[in-house]
């Protein structure tokens, strides 16, 4: 190759890529793959149980299904340069609502829970887009409100229901070998990727994350499109809470605790920068897998759960530091 570098097509391609892309581009594009690969190798060596069907499907895939839904929910607000911090609280409330409603009205609970999630998301979006309150403040507020409501409904304790028929929506296997939880998560994943790249909503999401006034002057109804990501986030989190409650036939007001940080980590690691405009839901799944493998692996090799918290925090900050779009650094404060 070194003898005649200019005639080799592959070599030329590498050369142009080198010229056109910055080191950060490479980190963002290849980082999650490298990280996932090394974690898999690492845990395969450290634990004989890691690379087994049982572990990968029952633990990694099933556990990451919920994280995937929540991370997909968070991706769209971040794409348009806002953020939804209320995702875990939305999961809490939806799970609680599911348990209450399923025992009252059965299968009709499903659309009602999803609707409730969208309503909560709409409120987030409305305050953010119309009243111009920074999204992290709005959603920090709703986080507290939603958790409060969940606590009131349950009185702070775990509630349960019995309905094996409905429960099988989350626990069964429509496709043999694929847990329904994973099936739903992947289906929704496909839908969000479609939304991001084949709809006006998706296009405006990216554009808004880049520069709002440009989009407005181009004639888009900006306020409306700024609201949609939050409605979608509400819907996806409600779906997450619903599936979670169905899976375990119960819910407590803190059932979704600890989802917020890993979900943001997954989004950012996947390549959607907090500065907005780049990345997308198709990449979020990579970040989710990294987090899921990391958590699963640490459990297998018996890392102290408190230490796990620290490691996760480090991973989040490192991922943000590596991927943040420094061209837009003025915007993020």
């Amino acid at each position: 190759m070194s003898g005649e570098p200019t005639t080799n097509a592959l070599w030329r391609w590498i050369e142009t890529q080198r010229e056109e892309r910055t080191r950060q581009d490479w980190i963002i594009d290849l980082g999650p793959f490298v990280m996932l690969g090394s974690l898999v190798v690492l845990f395969t060596i450290l634990s004989g149980n890691f690379l087994t069907y049982g572990n990968l499907v029952d633990n990694v895939a099933r556990n990451s299904a919920l994280l995937l839904l929540v991370a997909l929910a968070g991706t769209f607000p971040i794409l348009q340069q806002s953020i939804d911090l209320s995702v875990a609280a939305l999961v809490n409330l939806s799970a609680v609502l599911t348990v209450i409603l399923v025992s009252q009205i059965g299968v009709l609970a499903i659309p009602l829970v999803l609707l409730a999630g969208m309503l909560a998301g709409f409120l987030n979006g409305f305050v953010f887009a119309k009243l111009k309150v920074p999204s992290f403040l709005v959603t920090l507020g709703t986080l507290s409100i939603l958790n409060g409501v969940a606590l009131i409904i349950t009185g702070g304790s775990t509630i349960t229901f019995r309905n094996p028929g409905i429960r099988s929506i989350a626990t069964g296997e429509y496709i043999p070998g694929v847990p329904n939880l994973v099936f739903w998560a992947l289906l929704i994943y496909g839908a969000t990727v479609f939304l991001a790249f084949r709809t006006k909503f998706g296009r405006y999401c990216f554009a808004l994350g880049e520069n709002e006034s440009v989009v407005e002057l181009a004639g888009a109804k900006v306020d409306r499109y700024k609201m949609y990501p939050f409605v979608l986030s509400g819907l996806l989190c409600a779906a997450g809470g619903l599936l979670l409650a169905l899976r375990i036939s119960s819910a407590s007001p803190d059932v979704g605790e600890g989802l917020l940080l890993p979900s943001i980590a997954a989004i950012v690691m996947g390549g959607t920068a907090l500065t907005g405009g780049v990345g997308g839901p198709h990449r979020t799944i990579l970040g989710v897998l990294v987090i899921a493998v990391l958590q699963n692996g640490m459990n297998l090799v018996a890392v102290d759960p408190f230490v796990q918290e620290i490691i996760l925090g480090i991973v989040v900050v490192a991922a943000v530091a590596l991927s943040i779009d420094r061209r837009k650094i003025d915007v993020v404060k």
């Binding site: 709809t199 296009r203 990216f206 554009a207 880049e210 520069n211 440009v214 002057l217 004639g219």
Partner: protein, 527 residues
Amino acid sequence: MATNTSIDVDSDRDGSTTAADADAEPCLRTEGVSKSFRHVQALSDVSLSMYPGEVVGLVGENGAGKSTLLSILTGILTATEGQLYVHGEPVEFTNPREAAEHGVSLVHQEIDVLPNFKGYENLYLGRENDTMGLLNKDEMREEAQAFVDELGLDIDVSEYARSYSFNEHQMLEIAKAFHISRDTQNPVILLDEPTSGLEEAGRELLFEKINELRDQATFVFVSHELDEVLEISDRIYVLKDGEMNGEFEAESATSKDLQRSMVGRETASDYYQVPDQTTEAAFGETMLTVRELRHRDDIGPVSFSVREGEILGIVGVEGSGKQRLGRILAGALPATGGSIEINGTEVVPDSPADMVDAGIGYIPKDRKSEGLLLYQSVLQNTSLAMIRDMFGRLPFLDMKSETKATEEAIEELNIKTPGPKALVHGLSGGNQQKVVIGRWLARETPVLVMDNVTRGIDIGAKEEVYRLLRNLTEEGISIILIGDEMPEVIGLSNRVAVMADGEFVEDPVDASPSNKPTEEELIDRMI
């Protein structure tokens, strides 16, 4: 083409610059300085010399490379090629501080004084006088006052900078420049558009100070106002398209000489392609009618109409309301009264979406902050306005039609890009502007409102844009051309309206090829 107006400095130097005779060595010299950004050659082979005691003028069109040159001289940018010399010593600046320590500093166009800091605190900013981290405030204040007094500048350094007048800010900046380089002999102080924010009296005061201080420093005076440059400078360099295009003795040069050297053309008529201008006979129906349009008490009432294929120019001083009128037409600023009729349909401008639907495309003055999604592709930028109408109210994107529209725009507007997927960020200013125009053409927009459409793009690209405007009008598109550069607006327009205090001074005047108003005629009406 430009006649060679360069003259030999050394042979032509008369006794007027006495300091230069005492020390024939230039205090700052560049030799063959070039600078290229990724795709753009911003400066090529620029050599110049500045002698102690001189005021050197530096002029050039927008995009001629003045800012790049200033940035290289003060260490903000590093030259790709060439060498800087200070008092004959080769130097290399990697940051503004190093340049300042060698005596070269820049006084910015937008004065950067911290308003909530006192005068002396600003003077010492970044170089505070301290004892183990504690500021020696009294010492600094006294030294600062003495320093300023010695320069003969009338400022009270113990006042907060926010209470200073614009002039005093400027004096403080100049004092700062002297202060930073107080250990060097004969500092070089670069003044970037120092008069742009000044009234007449302030300008005179500034010139007075420059004249008083010229035996202590060399000033480089950068300005668009050629008469000012001629008044204050001893010698003037002209930059054009990144090259040194001429050097003039201020005493013998006229502003016409400078202009010709800057633009490089004999007649404005060819430059603005006046012979190809659409004439009244070729206009179509009335496309846009604006009646009694107003925004609160600031703008209006303004009434006018534009026909298919016509260009209506709007000029006026800063604050005359011409830009806000553009924003009202774009829907970005709400109209509080009056009406707009486009193609026979009446619209009430309420949001940009309404106006885009009605058929107005707005090309903002600041391309980077309002015109483009810089880090997104040419395709995403071009299709941004057309996606609103895809499949009616359905939420889907029509990928085929947007690809087609983008390819057509690249072809028709001659946008130089590696492809539709390339990021707009990497394109030159002219090509970026074509993308913004292409966005509206992709939507078949009949009326374009352009605010300083050639701002910050190089001369070659400007000519292309002029050609493009001519072609657009031939196709029946109506253009409202808001501009700060009078000759450009006059040259391009069919009629020109002068705005002052939010209103048209009179009905738009005729500007057909045989009947162009002069700049002076319009300026008389502006004030």
